[in-house]
Symmetry: C2
Subunit: 248 residues, 2 copies
DNA sequence: ATATTTTGTGTACAAAATACACATTGTTTC
DNA sequence: GAAACAATGTGTATTTTGTACACAAAATAT
């Protein structure tokens, strides 16, 4: 458990005069705030994460997450969308805040507190819009060492994703809008890193009743083509309110 | 979905020279960072939250969460422990980060980004150590309007607690170390705001096998006294690693 | 046309959640 | 101290959910 400093003499933020508040807020008690995005993709049946190679020789050209400082007049979430737009060219990505990392020594340039966001992206769409030589998709299992504390941030987001995907239908953001059940299962197996029973998987998703049969089939597969489905977000939004359980 | 600003010309934080980084981190791109604590307690079979009345007349003496600015040389989590220590006199409380609130206009004194922490406290212990006239326990259902965006923060933490308590054994932090099963059930009913079946509740907790029978009984109750139990944290820590399910 | 690969489907079994009733223990009241 | 009261403590039947598992049908490749 952390050591408690400054036990006694600090007044409480919301109990000060407005003037006192303003001077504190504009005073020395400020820190740099950054947003770091863990952007997941799904390609060739593997879960991927988008990383950039650091320019800093000092840091041995390690890979790092995509991040930037939050601007003084910018909403936190807007910072994350700005980073996503810059790097992927897309502005309608799934995005959710995961955790804030605020240890004093986490960044070598000084005090930088970082808010981690998790984003999910359809790799096919992304490919068309972005070209950056230092930007690469990495298999999640091959991510070993990252810049600063980015491995810790990545691990937190990956665990978050594994849990979250079992409670909410995020995974569809990683797939094309039309997908086969095999693709969906491959996705879940990649995220959760375990094999699932095909028949039970299908039974579960059909019983949830959020998949719409598109009446089409896969093309150019070297075997019997599977049916294509899409996820019915509207139906989900309507139904989810009545649920109390943990599963979706 | 938020509007994306600054689409193009911002370089990426982790791709700059160290000097450039340092100047940015120490430069104008800084914000005030605060921690706000949502401190829950359980008393008279009701879930309570600890609030303080704001001194600021301008804000109509509304109640607010307990918070303060994060100091430049202070770990984020240490800030939260400092606030808890100041306000409750205790330094071994359950504490967990929940969410960071970073809208530009959320605080009238300027840009203040706030990290919300949730803490759970045994009200009996607390009573012995703190005396502050502006500090009060409020029934959670009676919390209507709070200072700034604190109601939003409170709501997020309350929902977080309701979900979290079904996956992890946090609730025990709200109870005395020895408690009856009726007390435990009252706690869960108060947090989840619904009635639970007594026999099934007991069955579930006994089957988890983390309750230790203290061989004692309740005192001074106007009816048949129930047995007293404690929660076996060690056993839980050992066992939980092997679990994959969502329930604890 | 034959072999190969993957899709698509149902059932039996096990485990977990739920609904539900009565005897027991201690306290309070008359 | 007898009777009424109030809460504890316990088990079983039912429903629901999860899991394990096999074979026919469709399309492709040779």
């Amino acid at each position: 458990m952390a050591v408690v400093k400054n036990e006694i003499n600090s007044k409480q933020l919301h109990s000060k005069t407005l003037k006192g508040l303003q001077s504190e807020v504009q005073g020395i008690n400020r820190v740099a705030l950054s947003v770091d995005c863990v952007i997941f993709g799904f390609d060739e049946n593997k879960l991927k994460v988008l990383l950039i190679r650091s320019d800093l020789k000092k840091y041995q050209k390690k890979f790092s997450l995509l991040g930037d400082l939050v601007k003084p007049e910018e909403d936190l979430e807007d910072s994350a969308y700005r980073i996503l737009k810059q790097r992927t060219g897309m502005d309608d990505l799934y995005l959710e805040q995961v955790h804030t990392f605020g240890e004093v020594g986490r960044h070598p340039a000084g005090r930088v507190v970082s808010v981690a966001y998790c984003s999910l992206i359809n790799v096919q769409h992304h490919r068309l819009k972005i070209h950056d030589n230092d930007l690469h998709w990495h298999d999640v299992e091959s991510v070993k060492e990252l810049l600063f504390d980015h491995k810790k941030i990545f691990d937190a987001c990956y665990k978050w994703l594994q849990k979250r995907v079992q409670e909410h239908p995020l995974g569809f953001s990683l797939l094309p809008s039309k997908f086969s059940l095999r693709e969906l299962q491959n996705l879940y197996e990649a995220i959760l890193d375990k094999k699932l029973d095909r028949r039970n998987f299908r039974k579960k998703f059909f019983s949830m009743d959020f998949l719409v049969d598109m009446g089409e089939h896969e093309q150019n597969v070297p075997h019997r083509p599977g049916r294509l489905y899409k996820f019915d977000y509207e139906k989900y939004e309507k139904k989810k309110k009545t649920w109390s359980g943990i599963d979706f």
